[in-house]
Amino acid sequence: MSHPVESGARRELGSPEAILRHDASVFDLRLRRDAAAGEVPDWEALCDRAAAVKAHGLDHLDRYLEEFERRATEAGAVVHWASDAAAFCATVGDLLEEHAVERVAKSKSMLTEECGLNPHLEERGIVVVDTDLGERIVQLEAEPPSHIIVPAIHRSRQEIGELFHRRMGTPRGETDPERLTRAARRDLRTRFLSAQAGITGVNFAVAETGSLVVVTNEGNADLGMSLPPLHIACLGIEKLIPRLDDLPTFLRLLARSATGQPISAYTSVVTGPRPGGELHIVLVDNGRSALLGDAAHRSALRCIRCGACLNTCPVYRRAGGHAYPGPIPGPIGSVLGPAMHEKGASLPHASTLCGSCTAVCPVRIDLHDQLLAWRREGSPPRGFEALLARLAGFVMARPRLYRMAGALARVVWPALRVRFPGNPAHGWLAARELPRHPGASFSARWARERGAGE
């Protein structure tokens, strides 16, 4: 039986060419990240500091939540609290209905993906337009984003050209990214101008000042915040940072880790509503407080959603984001998955445990150790797998039996490489080839090499 991520990968990315293109695009982001991090002399110390600030903030989250609420309210914002996805969707939907809003311009927010906000609002007859270009592409394709920073990274320019031809009237066969981007700009500009409310995510919220920090490259969040009179900000409770003084530490890490930029084009620190406008902030728990109480897995809440772990992950790069059940793909999605949604239980197995994710994480989340920890806590193997595991344990505990088993394996190994129904390795061989056997055991080679050396 194949893992959900494995079958998902085969279903979603499809052709070998599409997989190679996806792999190359994603790894290009990783290389840009490396170059950008290399230019910052205090990078490692900066990561240490960011991790420590987050660890402190999470360990005092009760105080910082109350401080944030107090400061934001003093600045004129209205703060709402939502225990779960349903309460969050209802709060936002009710706010929009109270303001008689029919058209919303929304900028990127993984929290709204997680909570299913768009379908909820559409059910209530509200038109939600995702305004980040990548988000707009996946919205028009009626599919979820496949990457938390580059939502349509799985789509080729030909596919996007065809989509825009159908939905925005661009010339058939137009695949030039600049002309396609211009078409989307024109189309979305009219939607911005007629929007009655703007919904944004939040990258950081500063407890000390009650400020929201919203980061984009396109400027779409700023248009959403500045044109309609009503701004609703969706904020996971783990996004709080204690002080304004902590902000540069995170901003210096975020864009460099995500895309290799020294900083994103627009970083807006918003405190209270703009004159004549309204600002509503919805603080969302949806499982975060439970994760906070789990000392073994709490570190995952430090995540600043830079996507660096996705870009370096050999599984994500070849499987694509849609292969992962749940809103967030890649290593961080697999670490959050078991805690956040029921389909996430098997996600920690979709990893090679190579540790590359841990190496690039700017807030020092021990991602591959987390994956291993979830595996240990998960349900023990059953059936044939359990039998194999018990057998392996029995053999490995007995050196002589182990050596005999090794000798036997070298005899039957070539047969295992052949695909035939009933071959216990069949499931594996469907997607890969067994490596060639070295021909002799390590002990035998060791004895021989050492003998040759003396």
Partner: protein
């Protein structure tokens, strides 16, 4: 129990109040100065001019406006016009609705602090009372006193006036609007300005 109380109660049950705040990150020893800033700004798609003496700012901005405006409307926020003096720009009427800036060709605003490590400029709310103007315009010109350039973001933020957050928004702007959402191809002018020109000046 309200959602607020329920969440706070769960969070209180989860935290220990044991982990100390590590303190401020010490500012790194990075190179500052206009040249480094200008190089960075070019790297993020912007163009830096100057530094010029303050009496020359109007002349330099006029040159850039002539290049960019193509006959369209040119607005200078009030605090920018104070630096510029009279010219081909007009100060927008105070009662213009946010969508009223839709067809603005060039907007000129005053930045306060520049960051050499990332080419970003702080646009404070007080200098951008028309919040939508720098995002709806096709081309953005920012004025920046050359004395306001700091090597890194830590020292840059620390140099902001104490009331920098008191005017609703503070935006760090680094180059023009951009996207790479279609096959990682960088395109300027995703939603906001297609170009960003920065004119650094030596304050009188």
């Amino acid at each position: 129990m309200s959602d607020r109380e329920a969440i706070l109660q769960r969070v209180r049950g989860a935290v220990r109040h044991e982990v100390d705040h590590p303190g401020a990150h010490p500012a790194p020893s990075l190179a500052g100065g206009f040249e480094r800033f200008a190089t960075r700004l070019r790297g993020v798609g912007g163009e830096a001019h100057g530094p010029v003496p303050s009496w020359q700012v109007g002349e330099v901005v006029t040159g850039v406006v002539n290049l960019r405006a193509e006959g369209g409307r040119v607005f200078a926020a009030e605090s920018a016009s104070e630096v510029l003096g009279p010219g081909v720009w007009v100060v927008p009427p105070a009662d213009l609705a946010p969508i009223g800036f839709e067809d603005v060709a060039v907007a000129i605003l005053r930045g306060t602090i520049g960051v050499a490590e990332n080419g970003a400029v702080a646009l404070e709310g007080r200098h951008a009372p028309q919040r939508s103007l720098p995002f709806l315009c096709r081309h953005l010109i920012l004025l920046l006193p050359s004395t306001g350039i700091h090597p890194d973001l830590h020292s840059a933020q620390a140099a902001l006036p104490a009331d920098a957050l008191d005017h609703h928004h503070l935006t760090w702007i680094s180059g023009p609007s951009k996207t790479a959402d279609i096959e990682q191809t960088l395109v300027y002018g995703a939603h906001g300005p297609l170009t960003l020109d920065l004119i650094a000046y030596t304050p009188a």
